[in-house]
């Protein structure tokens, strides 16, 4: 049985008809074509599906799409403005913090949310914020460097 869902995705109001079991990650990827959000584990462990829900990082594989009714979702696609990258995205590029890219949308969104709440985080706070994003390529150091650099420049 389908239910109507109205939510804000990257500043745009979207209306869809969905089944109750549909997760937010499936809504974003399969229904809205926003494949920047990745599917990694389906158990809330890897963080690749991270999006911002009302400004807070969440695992979108752990959110029922219908729970997002009336709420604001920001995905990686929502970060750049008029072709201009967010300063966190710029920092990731400059510091070589992206290898395969699979965890990058999650790491960038987590960083964006962190810097909005704590504009000058310590390295420990950056590491702590990243606890829910698993990266197999970079060893995290360049991701951390990028985030600290973005905090200094932003």
């Amino acid at each position: 049985m389908k239910y109507s869902l109205r939510l804000w995705v990257n500043g745009e109001e979207r209306e869809v008809q969905v089944e109750p079991q549909l997760t937010l990650v499936a809504l974003l990827r399969d229904h809205l074509g926003l494949t920047g959000t990745k599917w990694g584990c389906g158990t809330g462990d890897c963080g690749a599906c991270t999006v911002l829900l009302d400004g807070k990082p969440v695992n979108s594989c752990m959110v029922l799409a219908l729970s997002a009714e009336g709420r604001e979702v920001v995905t990686i696609e929502g970060l750049s403005r008029n072709g201009q990258l967010h300063n966190v995205q710029e920092a990731f590029i400059q510091h070589g913090a992206v290898q395969c890219g699979y965890c990058a949308p999650a790491a960038i969104l987590v960083a964006k949310a962190l810097l909005e709440e704590h504009p000058a985080p310590s390295e420990a706070e950056v590491r702590w914020a990243l606890a829910g994003v698993l990266c197999r390529c970079t060893g995290y150091s360049k991701i951390i460097d990028a985030i600290l650099a973005a905090s200094r420049s932003g």
């Binding site: 049985m1 462990d45 963080g47 695992n59 752990m62 959110v63 029922l64 219908l66 606890a131 829910g132």
Partner: protein, 286 residues
Amino acid sequence: MEYFRPCTLEEALALLARYGEEALVVAGATDVLMDMRFKGLAPRGLLDTGRVPLSYIREEDGELALGALTTIGQLERSPLLRDRYVALAEAARSFGSPQIRNLATLGGNIAHATPSAEMAPPLLALDAQAKLVSTQGERLVPLEAFFTGPGKTVRQPDELITEFRLPVVGGLTGTAYLRHCVREALDIAIVGVACRLGLDHGGRIQAARIALGAVAPTPIRAREAEDALRASPVNEPLAERAAELAMAASQPISDVRATALYRREMVRVYTRRALAQAAQRARSGG
């Protein structure tokens, strides 16, 4: 499958009265979605409680009231908890990951009732009661009596946990929560220990609580260990004795994370450490 999203507690209770077990209660969804995905749970309906206003942390009438839908992240960040009920903030901080903490709820963690339920030991150490409400009325259940087995509680299908209540702590009281774990995040505890110590002005222990998680079919209190502490001044041999009694109270299993033998030993080590921390905090007034 049907979907319900009530906006008030009354609406939610009416739905539960009507559908009972056929409506799966969903709060943060972080445990429930796993059950649906991996245990083949296929309920007739999903009862999304996300709009029911049960998210609060406040002191009232000599009690701390915690709304069942308060997220773990809100508990972690609460200045009140960090100041006076530190064990709760520490348990919240060690829960899952930041993303999980923004979704998971206190009520959900307790209702799911795994032996390692992170928030249970500090709630037990603080003498918490769970308020269960249905269209028939409400009841307060001491948390120790709430858990009946792994994943099992006294909650009836038509009941919702609405809040947890515990006595306001005062005076020379200190709490601590420590967990032994392989990783710092996203890992289920091998052992979780919460302690509360209340001292009198002479430095003797007036109140003692030791609660253990992940080492028995349910979260438990180590009552013999608590009794050994009462009316004595805090010192190392006493803490060691209590730690050994706590170890004896635990009934851990061997699993992928650790052997029963190792868990028992870690109960001893972490109880001793948590007692030391609680004592130090009690001396400095919480």
